[in-house]
């Protein structure tokens, strides 16, 4: 068994706001191996993006990583000096963002933005960097990459821009890519193409991939393993088949039940009642208990995680955990 490319252990990232301490990431642990895809699923505000930024070392004040480890190939990134972590960023660990309209700098040519990403980590001349940029654009399926390199971001469609962002992430052949909802802002047809491309590239280059999304159907077709996040915690974790076929946490079951295509036509859509509680004042014990039909007095105590590789954080799991 090979060592994990990335292992996150008891990560805690808090935001120190005027209204109080916001525990955006609270005791989160998971790992990804070479060539594997991990789906990090959760609603808006569940802490999945902050988890991604914590891995990149890009948490800005008032946020701070207050505990835990992020081991990348055995090296702990937490507390690493900025210039060292900068050498990993974009080089060994790359990130793709949610909104392709916002991530590319509108006033710089695509080639400038790609060449600088190569030259930030490799002391190669412009010509070599340019060739690498061109190849990367070709790799993600952008037609006539030579011409497109000289274009500005606004001359690309949304899907094409996201391909450019993916190409930038691939430039230095990273060991790990953190993709933060990269298909959310795209049309369904484009989404399908991008998913297919990314999956193919990750398999070919044996890159580990963390795919952050709120869309279960995306993860179902893409990931090997799933972590479901709720209010800053991972409430359930396991292989895709196990989690989707036999969800153990009522929240996961609720999410699966809410997927519209699973609902019967003509009936009202199934929802999880209520909204996610404010991260500033979470209920004691299980954060989901106020929306949960299985909750009782025992849920007022913090549920301990059960199981190891297949894990659930619930007092009344719906399925047996080995």
């Amino acid at each position: 068994m090979t060592a994990a490319t990335l292992s996150v252990e008891n990560l805690e990232t808090h935001f120190f706001t005027k209204a109080g301490v916001l525990k955006a990431v609270n005791d989160v642990s998971f790992e990804v191996r070479q060539g594997k895809i991990l789906g990090l699923v959760g609603e808006s505000g569940s802490g999945k993006s902050v988890t991604g930024f914590s891995i990149m070392g890009l948490v800005d004040p008032p946020g701070r990583i207050v505990g835990g480890r992020v081991r990348f190939k055995g090296q702990d990134i937490v507390g690493m000096p900025e210039d060292q972590i900068r050498k990993l960023r974009g080089n060994r660990i790359a990130m793709i963002f949610q909104d392709p309209m916002m991530t590319l700098n509108p006033v710089l040519k695509v080639e400038t933005q790609m060449i600088e990403a190569v030259q930030a980590h490799d002391s190669v001349d412009r010509k070599t960097a340019w060739t690498r940029a061109r190849d990367a654009l070709g790799q993600v399926g952008i037609p006539s990459p030579e011409e497109r390199l000289a274009a500005y971001p606004h001359q690309f469609s949304g899907g094409m821009r996201q391909r450019v962002a993916i190409a930038i992430a691939l430039l230095n052949k990273p060991d790990l890519i953190v993709a933060d909802e990269p298909t959310t802002a795209l049309d369904v047809t484009i989404q399908g193409q991008i998913l297919y491309e990314v999956q193919k590239l990750a398999r070919e280059t044996r890159t580990a991939l963390i795919w952050i999304t709120h869309d279960l159907s995306v993860v179902a077709s893409l990931a090997d393993e799933i972590c479901v996040m709720y209010a800053g915690r991972i409430v359930e974790r396991g292989s895709v088949d196990e989690v989707l076929d036999r969800p153990a946490h009522p929240y996961t079951a609720g999410l699966i039940g809410s997927v519209p295509s699973r609902n019967e036509k003509g009936k009202p859509l199934v929802q999880i009642p209520g909204v996610m509680p404010s991260m500033l004042n979470l209920p004691s014990g299980c954060a989901f208990r106020l929306r949960c039909s299985h909750a009782d007095a025992t849920c007022c105590d913090e549920p301990k995680p059960r199981g190891h590789l297949r894990q659930v954080r619930c007092c009344h799991p719906l399925a047996e955990i080995a």
Binding site: L58, R89, G90, A94, M102, V107, K109, A120, Y152
Partner: protein
């Protein structure tokens, strides 16, 4: 682009016509220059002769028509007071104003942009707060008062810098200017600072706002995620975005400091166009007033044109929109 420039020039011509009409009739309505030029004890015949010599005996619309015909030939009339062509008079004074204005704008760029960037980059630091508080002062204190205070402190109390005139002129590449002698620079320091103060504050606030607006943007985070150094992120990625509004404002500033150096020139007895226009208004010297305003308008038009062209260099999105139109 060519279509854009041609369209712009046609609009400018219209502005010039309206402008000259307003000034011409405006000055006519204010008062009669004859009362000022002709000695009080002059007899009727002398008065008639003076009026005829200045061309003031004809009806006002005829005077305007005469002015337009001459203006098209490049003659904006002779000054009533100095009896030399008003253009020549203005051009004599222009270098002084231009050197004052360009120094003021340069100060506002060289001081304003770095301070503004710092204040926007570290908004919580004590230095940033001091910069911002000072900029409020620079923004709100009236120019004439600051000018007087500068003279009081640096010229009268400390005696470090002279407070009036242009000082010794140096010559370089055929241009005579205070910029080329130490004495001239010393004379330039206070008025330039005085004129620049408002603009420095404006540039500081604008740059800071741009910095604070751009730093949390996704493209900045993405640039950092690529592993770029903070220096490159700030000075290439963010700065190029901030420059778009800053260049616009600096362009407007150039026009403003040239046209409205009046107060500073008066306080520091700077022999520029601003002082000339004040004197001319007092004397109702219509040809000079009209010529001055026309030249100012032309300067504004040229500056705006240059800013628009610069704009499209800085912002590729503007370039595309323009190509689509023309």
């Amino acid at each position: 682009m060519t279509v854009f420039i041609i369209r712009r020039l046609m609009q400018s011509a219209l502005v010039l016509i309206i402008m000259s009409l307003l000034v011409f009739f405006g000055v006519f309505a204010i008062g009669d220059p004859v009362e000022i030029f002709v000695a009080a004890d002059a007899d009727q015949a002398e008065r008639e002769r003076a009026i005829k010599a200045l061309g003031l005996d004809r009806p006002i619309w005829a005077q305007y028509g005469y002015f337009v015909v001459n203006a098209l030939a490049g003659d904006l009339g002779r000054s009533f007071v100095f009896n030399i062509p008003s253009i020549e008079l203005i051009l004599q004074r222009m270098p002084a104003t231009l050197e004052l204005a360009s120094c003021a704008v340069m100060l506002s760029v060289v001081i304003g942009i770095p301070l503004g960037m710092f204040a926007g980059y570290r908004p919580e630091s004590r230095i940033s707060k001091t910069i911002m508080a000072t900029s409020i002062a620079g923004f709100s204190l009236p120019t004439f008062w600051v000018g007087l205070m500068l003279i009081l402190v640096f010229a009268v109390e400390l005696g470090w810098l002279p407070s009036t005139g242009r000082g010794q002129l140096g010559e370089f590449l055929g241009i005579r200017s205070s910029l080329f002698t130490l004495d001239g620079l010393a004379h330039l320091a206070l008025p330039a600072l005085n004129l620049a103060l408002f603009n420095i504050s404006l540039v500081i606030r604008l740059t800071r706002a741009g910095m604070r607006e751009n730093m949390p943007m996704d493209y900045v985070k993405f640039a950092r995620a690529k592993g770029l150094s903070q220096k490159r992120v700030v000075f290439v990625h963010v700065m190029k975005n901030i420059m778009i509004p800053v260049v616009t404002v600096i362009g407007l500033e150039i026009g403003q400091v040239i046209a409205f150096a009046v107060v500073t020139e008066t306080i520091f007895a700077w022999p520029g166009m601003g002082k000339l226009i004040i004197d001319s208004i007092n004397n109702l010297d219509r040809p000079v007033i009209v010529a001055y305003l026309l030249i100012t308008v032309i300067m504004f038009i040229v500056i705006n044109l240059v800013v628009d062209i610069l704009y499209s260099v800085l912002d590729p999105r503007v370039r595309l929109a323009d190509a689509g139109k023309s």
